[in-house]
């Protein structure tokens, strides 16, 4: 199992995920640096992501959309803030109105910190997502697009385990 630790901080509205990958740091970095690889991991099942513009450079803007099973498109962007290849980068992740990728002012941005460090087994990755407040978090979850079928599957697991 690649996920080794999950920390929820209710006070700080922070989710910290730690994962260990059996691949060198440079290889993990490549997945995030290459749009074609990134879109294979970013969207949840049933909501494949398509990255339109993507370059991991400070100040650059990544644009992408996720397509629902019904063909509806959810537009989003990253504002890349800092980059230190191949050990990590930080960005804000936000929702956009349409294919012009104009930020949707009604929707919250989240702050994301990705770090990759070499280990004996390969790479330890830490992903820290911070939401401004409870309302932001709830809005992101209400979008539905982001968790989609993963959630549904987890609910079934919970039901079977109870």
């Amino acid at each position: 199992m690649p996920v080794t630790d999950v920390q929820h901080d209710l006070d700080a509205r922070t989710l910290t995920i730690t994962a260990d990958f059996a691949a060198p740091v440079e290889r993990v970095w490549d997945v995030y640096a290459d749009a074609r690889q990134l879109e294979r991991v970013w969207g949840p099942p049933g909501y494949p992501a398509t990255f339109v513009d993507h370059e991991l450079a400070p100040g650059s803007r990544t644009t992408y959309y996720m397509t629902s099973p019904e063909g509806e498109k959810y537009y989003a962007y990253w504002n890349v803030e800092s980059v230190s290849a191949p050990t990590g980068f930080t960005f804000t992740d936000g929702f956009a109105l349409d294919e012009s990728f104009t930020p949707n002012e009604e929707m919250p941005e989240s702050s994301q910190v990705f770090r990759f460090t070499g280990t004996d087994a390969g790479t330890r990755a830490t992903f820290v997502a911070t939401y401004a407040d409870a309302e932001s978090l709830q809005k992101v979850l209400d979008m539905g697009a982001v968790e989609g079928s993963t959630l549904a599957i987890n609910q079934i697991d919970d039901l079977l385990a109870s």
């Binding site: 690649p2 996920v3 999950v6 929820h8 209710l10 006070d11 509205r13 989710l15 995920i17 994962a19 990958f21 059996a22 691949a23 290889r27 993990v28 997945v31 074609r36 690889q37 879109e39 294979r40 991991v41 970013w42 949840p44 099942p45 494949p48 398509t50 397509t67 990755a125 992903f127 997502a129 407040d133 409870a134 309302e135 978090l137 709830q138 809005k139 992101v140 979850l141 209400d142 982001v146 968790e147 993963t150 959630l151 987890n154």
Partner: protein, 137 residues
């Protein structure tokens, strides 16, 4: 979900996080989740006035994280485990998204990720054969 229900849900989430953003209130909540306590018994554990502890208990009560009942002259407080679980559920939903991403990442790194339906609509130039695979003669 109607607009009104959505608003109510968000108001509730705000109240939860506000109530939990204070160290004394988290401590009170931990104690009343473990068992029913009178407000005066709770107040003895803190270096603050009875009135201040009463106010913290009231914030937790308004957020629905704690319920109170009267017994004689005492107010007895107990924690609402269901409500506490709901707060955690907000972040657990996000966790499921991340777990999905990371397991697909693991598959990609292992080279085991199969092309999915997306490649039908969005041909990946790296995966396309450069020559037709069938002969026409």
């Amino acid at each position: 979900m109607t607009e009104r229900e959505r608003d109510e849900q968000e108001d509730r989430a705000d109240a939860w996080f506000h109530a939990l953003a204070d160290r004394t209130r988290r401590d009170i909540l931990r104690r009343v989740l473990a068992g029913e306590h009178s407000v005066s018994a709770l107040a003895q554990g803190y270096d603050m006035s009875f009135a201040a502890v009463q106010k913290h208990v009231a914030v937790l009560e308004r957020a629905g994280l704690l319920t109170k009942r009267r017994q004689g002259r005492e107010a007895l407080a107990s924690g609402d485990l269901e409500a506490v679980r709901s707060v955690g559920a907000l972040l657990t939903e996000l966790e499921s998204l991340w777990r999905g991403r990371i397991s697909r990442m693991d598959e990609l790194l292992a080279g085991a990720l199969q092309p999915d339906n997306q490649s039908d609509n969005q041909p990946d130039p790296h995966n396309q054969p450069t020559h037709p695979t069938h002969r026409t003669d």
